[in-house]
């Protein structure tokens, strides 16, 4: 985590462009620039800036926005109430799509629909998420007028039906893209299970095909899929920026984007810090789940390289 904080900090500060530029207008005189630099602390040497930043992190103080003056942590908390449910719902939807289709594609790989599923999922990984979003908007918002094309109701989650209605297309967009790559992993994990000795043994002992697959296959096949799920969930959290732009949602991603556009370093840093924290948490959760599913992993202390 310390390394992550250091990398983020250096990445943002060592590159050209002074954050104080955000505060002053074009053509400000040197005195005004100097005052702005003092205000944001960019007149200090880089090491001193870093120490100060770490000290603030220790107190869970992510600073205040250069632009609006609102504490970054409060703003992030507000934004997360949109981004977290969006990601979680899309994640669940993606699993609901990918698990049956992936297993079907493996079990029925000799039938035409088994092959079709693999081919479609191959295409899915080549499609940028925002194009899917635009196409869904075209189909469901413009043509069929079933769902709104963008925005989030100001009432927020106090009106859950309206909020969900508004989030249907974004959730579907993320879920489709996510499940395209998930299907491939589920399929290949299922293929491994189907080719395994223990499944053949179970069949030989008289278990039906479906029964053997459910009793022995799921636990074994789940382990590699869970680690992929962790990575997918993490990259979806971080990738929310594009989807939130497509549907004009006031989430964490759009906070990052406007922070970048306005050179609002505390906001950008804060969003990245919280996202990194979330990503690490997701990785930790995936590790734990793997150990729960597969007792063989419990003895070793972190079998990942």
């Amino acid at each position: 985590m310390l390394i992550a904080a250091a990398v983020l900090f250096l990445l943002l500060r060592l590159l050209p462009g002074d954050p104080a530029n955000a505060l002053v207008s074009v053509g400000a005189d040197p005195e005004q620039i100097e005052a702005a630099r003092r205000q944001v602390g960019s007149d200090l040497p880089i090491a001193a800036q870093f120490v100060r930043y770490l000290g603030q992190l220790g107190r869970f103080d992510l600073g205040a926005s250069f632009i609006s003056g609102v504490p970054v942590l409060d703003e992030i908390g507000r934004r997360l109430t949109l981004t977290l449910p969006l990601t979680a719902l899309a994640f669940v939807a993606a699993i609901l799509i990918a698990l049956p289709l992936g297993i079907l594609a493996a079990v029925k790989r000799d039938r035409w629909y088994g092959g079709l599923i693999s081919i479609v999922s191959q295409f899915g990984i080549a499609v940028p998420v925002f194009w899917i979003g635009i196409l869904l908007v075209t189909a469901f918002a413009v043509k069929l007028r079933l769902f709104p094309s963008s925005g989030f109701p100001p009432s927020g989650w106090r009106d859950p039906i309206a909020a969900l209605h508004q989030l249907t297309l974004p959730i579907l967009t993320i879920a489709l893209v996510m499940s395209a790559s998930l299907i491939r992993y589920v399929r290949s994990a299922t293929l491994d299970v189907i080719g395994s000795d223990y499944l053949r043994t179970a069949r030989a002992l008289g278990a039906g095909y479906g029964e053997a697959l459910i009793r022995h296959g799921i636990r074994n096949g789940a382990v590699p899929v869970i680690s992929i799920l962790g990575i997918e969930l993490a990259s979806t959290l971080l990738g929310a920026v594009v989807v939130e732009r497509v549907f004009s949602l006031p989430g964490l991603g759009s906070m990052l984007l406007s922070g970048i556009e306005q050179r609002d370093y505390p906001s950008v840093q804060g969003v990245l810090f919280v996202s990194t924290l979330l990503v690490l948490l997701v990785g930790f959760a995936a590790d734990l789940t793997q150990r729960l599913v597969d007792p063989r992993l419990r003895g070793s202390s972190g079998g990942r390289s």
Binding site: A126, L135, V142
Partner: protein, 284 residues
């Protein structure tokens, strides 16, 4: 995906799969169209050639945009931009990534640990996000900035792959023998490491090319890519979304162009992998 480093293998039999040929054809089509736009386009890309937001017709295969410019012409130019960004970014990623990866593989334990941990953190962030940050930190979005940002962002993935592959070669007995007999480390890189890891790296470069094309489109879509009049596919899609209620067809053609190039690159990479490592040929 970057971790599936196959066993050290040399290109053996050149059996080209249909998928590889389709991929090569798709990529080749984009290259030809992209190069062609340097000398000829159906219409002047900046001229107002027809009605605004006209639907596709025989005169305008993909319709016209909100200023009445021919969309098909802009899409053709978009191919040139996508290929330029892709090849530029992959070159940068390869130069930085292979160098850092080799350094890490040869470095002392402590240096290697720090480098590996840094790479792991960088890789946890999607390429697009890193590229966004680099664009943000540099002054002003331009085609060059986009290439540089995507290339630098992708170099972490290349570096980690190179490090893993090179370490595997360095553990071989013949490398120990070469070291003992006094070959310099540059000599070891040139004679033993690079020839062994090259096939796998090239496959990865082809995949990175596709990811760079998507990243560039995403940057342009977010308004952080090449500014107008560069007809990037991402910017065309962003403009199409703005007029989606009056001209819902506008988003289809640029997206199809983008997807066909990326699919072509992925198929091409799969085909290359089959050539580089025959043992993987049976896997779906």
């Amino acid at each position: 995906m970057t971790d599936d480093a196959p066993a050290l293998a040399q290109p053996s039999s050149l059996r080209l799969t249909p998928a590889f040929l389709i991929g090569a054809a798709l990529v080749g089509l984009h290259v030809v169209v992209g190069l062609m736009t340097l000398v000829w386009t159906p219409y002047d890309p900046t001229a107002m050639t027809g009605g605004r937001l006209a639907p596709p017709s025989l005169l305008h295969w993909a319709g016209t945009d909100r200023l009445g410019r021919d969309l098909f012409t802009e899409i053709m130019i978009g191919a040139r931009i996508a290929l330029a960004v892709g090849s530029g970014a992959v070159t940068i990623a390869a130069a930085i990534g292979v160098t850092v990866g080799l350094l890490a593989a040869f470095a002392s334990r402590a240096v290697d640990d720090v480098l590996a941990a840094t790479l792991d953190i960088l890789i946890a962030f999607p390429t697009l996000l890193l590229a966004m940050l680099i664009v943000a930190a540099s002054d002003g979005a331009s085609l060059g900035t986009a290439i540089l940002a995507i290339g630098v962002a992708a170099s972490a993935i290349v570096a980690r792959l190179t490090r893993i592959l090179a370490r595997r070669v360095l553990a071989m007995d013949y490398v120990t023998a070469a070291r003992v007999s006094g070959t310099s480390w540059l000599g070891i890189v040139r004679i033993h490491v690079l020839p062994n890891i090259w096939p796998t790296l090239v496959v990865n470069f082809a995949l990175q090319f596709g990811l760079a094309v998507i990243a560039e489109a995403s940057l342009s879509y977010l308004g952080l890519g090449a500014p107008p009049p560069n007809a990037s596919w991402g910017r065309l899609l962003q403009e199409a979304q703005a007029t989606v209620y009056t001209a819902p067809f506008g988003a289809v053609a640029p997206g199809l162009a983008l997807v066909s190039l990326v699919i072509g690159l992925n198929l091409f990479a799969d085909g290359l992998r089959d050539v580089a490592d025959p043992t993987r040929r049976r896997r779906g």
